[in-house]
């Protein structure tokens, strides 16, 4: 397991996609962490300078309420990263547990859990998120939880397949024969050894959670008390002609972030498929 991980780490550093993604992520994290210091203005502060086009005083212009767009984007990075990561982690935990249990225990348990996974797969997720957020309120925490609760299916399927194959290996059989408890085997051996594809999928999951969050905010279902990129676009779409920069730059920020996580996830995936799997 540890050797596995070392090899995996080395392969990652040799992967261009992953390296580019890592650099992009570092920049993003830097911005999100130091948004307060980096921002030239307070993004919540309204001013008289309405819809000022990009200039030296406002590098990316201002919005219809006179807020500085660059500062808003910096603060939005925080929200996007937070929502993306936490939602994806929730999905990873649920998916790993459900899939692991279904695959490892097999039989009737698999029939019930597997059936549940299949039924959930048929749910129109985005519509479900819309209804829940619209009816139960759209605080940031709720948005994260709802996205996490609705996007675990992929992880569950991956983990189930992993558990099915890992449980046939000899060291699991020997662990069973010396009387280790089922749960212990699941958490000590099955999940740690089958987690790599989940890591790749979860990294991709961050990207899609960020897209989902921005869509919700764009539909006016975001948290009204915070600044998020989707919300900036929702607000800016009425000023598409007089203030094109609002939508354009906020959209580019989303694309940058989403690409970052796609690159990371795809990089991990590429390394996983040819090398680690063949061993």
């Amino acid at each position: 397991m540890k050797k596995n991980f070392e090899k995996f780490k080395q392969a990652l550093y040799g992967n261009t996609q992953f390296k580019v993604g890592l650099v992009m992520l570092a920049i993003l994290l830097f911005i999100a962490l130091f948004a307060g210091v980096l921002s030239p203005y307070d993004p919540y502060k309204l001013s008289e300078d309405l819809l000022v086009s990009p200039s030296s005083s406002h590098p990316l212009g201002t919005d219809n309420l006179g807020r500085d767009l660059l500062s808003m984007l910096f603060y939005g990075a925080k929200v996007s990263l937070l929502v993306g990561t936490i939602s994806a982690l929730i999905a990873a935990v649920i998916g790993t547990l459900l899939g692991g249990v279904a695959g490892f225990f097999g039989g009737k348990v698999d029939m019930i859990f597997g059936g549940f996974i299949n039924i959930f797969m048929m749910m129109p997720t985005f519509f479900l998120i819309l209804i829940v957020v619209a009816l139960f309120g759209s605080g940031m925490l709720k948005v994260m939880i709802v996205i996490g609760l609705t996007s675990w299916v992929g992880n569950a399927k991956l983990m189930r397949a992993q558990a099915l194959s890992i449980k046939e290996r000899t060291y699991i059989k020997s662990a069973e024969s010396i009387g280790e408890s089922k749960l212990k085997i699941l958490f000590r051996h099955i999940i740690p050894n089958g987690i790599f594809p989940i890591i790749a999928n979860t990294t991709m999951g961050v990207a899609s959670a960020i897209l989902t969050e921005s869509s919700l905010a764009f539909l006016g279902l975001g948290d009204p008390n915070i600044i998020s990129w989707g919300q900036i676009i929702q607000n800016g779409k009425s000023y598409l002609l007089t203030g094109w920069w609002i939508c354009v730059f906020a959209g580019l920020a989303i694309i940058y972030t989403v690409i970052t996580f796609y690159l990371l996830g795809d990089g991990i995936n590429r390394i996983l498929s040819p090398k680690l799997r063949s061993r």
């Binding site: 129109p124 519509f127 690409i259």
Partner: protein
């Protein structure tokens, strides 16, 4: 085949039922009374609210409401919109047309373009165009569809004035016959472009990977070794084998057709299910929400069966009596 199909249909019906129940629970657990929203905030008349609540059966226990709803479904009755008072079924049917038009056009364009580009790149792996298209597909995959829509409006409608910004036809002209068809197509260009562009990367990648994989199979080497021309090998054998995953993606995508275009519809004020759904959500129009959800679940369930059945004909390895 028959017993297999029967089993699939039973499962599908069960799935739809469970999905519906799930949705019902969520809607009914939500805070807020739709009648109050209907009545408005000012001049709340408690008696009127009580009367309306009774009229829509909202005073009954939840499980009775649910079974009454399901019972009515079997009679073809999807209930009445709390807000407009119109039968939900009629409203959905009127909104379904524009959505199907938009989605089918975009899906088919994406299927054809994405697959062709994918095949091209698979046959020229490593070429400049291959890596260029690969990067572009990444880019469009990371682009939110609503933003893409807004950018198309900004460039092609607001700035260049080539296409209309919103709607499905010109209300003022109200053209008829052939002119009407042209008008609708004219309005269709931008929304379907936005939707296709977000779908093309899927087909591109699937087709590319699949063609590369099949191209490396031993039986392709056999055919080459037997002197068959490359063109013929690709036309008759590679594509026939590589098409399977593309069909799956197309089927899954069609399954979510009813809800898939919602955001693009809203950006372009396209009068379809997406806009309808958003209105229903903001009005907490329970029967309408349930109706939309039902239509979506049924379309998903039906398409999944269709994909499976098509698959059994395309791939002889899948036995028709056992399913997957």
């Amino acid at each position: 085949m028959k017993s297999y199909l029967g089993k699939r249909i039973v499962t599908a019906v069960l799935c739809v039922f469970l999905a519906l129940l799930f949705n019902f629970i969520i809607i009914h657990a939500a805070p807020g009374n739709p009648i109050r929203i209907l009545a408005g905030t000012d001049s709340v008349n408690e008696e009127m609210i009580a009367e309306l609540t009774q009229k829509y059966g909202l005073d009954q226990p939840a499980y009775i409401q649910f079974f009454r709803y399901v019972g009515n479904l079997f009679k073809g009755d999807m209930g009445v919109s709390i807000y407009t008072g119109q039968p939900v079924a009629d409203e959905i049917i009127s909104k379904l047309g524009p959505t199907l038009l938009l989605c089918l056009t975009s899906s088919i364009i994406a299927l054809i373009l994405g697959t062709l580009l994918g095949i091209f790149c698979a046959r020229h792996v490593g070429s400049a165009l291959d890596s260029f298209l690969g990067s572009i597909s990444y880019l469009f995959d990371s682009t939110p569809s609503f933003w893409l829509g807004l950018m198309l409006i900004l460039v092609f409608a607001s700035t260049l004035h080539l296409f209309p910004t919103a709607g499905m036809f010109n209300v003022r002209q109200n053209a008829e016959g052939f002119a009407r068809v042209v008008d609708v197509l004219y309005h269709l260009v931008l929304p379907s472009t936005a939707l296709s562009l977000t779908l093309i990367p899927y087909y591109f990648r699937i087709a590319r990977t699949s063609v590369i994989q099949v191209g490396n199979e031993d039986f392709i080497t056999t055919l080459r070794g037997a002197g068959m021309r490359e063109d013929r090998i690709y036309r008759k054998y590679v594509f026939r084998n590589a098409i399977l995953p593309v069909v799956t993606v197309f089927g899954i995508q069609l399954a979510y057709i009813v809800s898939g275009s919602a955001i693009v519809e809203i950006v372009f004020s396209w009068p379809g299910m997406g806009s309808y759904m958003m209105t229903a959500i903001s009005r907490r129009d329970y029967p309408t929400l349930m109706g939309i959800y039902l239509v979506i679940s049924i379309s998903v369930a039906v398409m999944m069966i269709v994909v499976d059945v098509v698959y059994t004909y395309l791939d002889p390895r899948i036995s028709r009596s056992e399913g997957k």
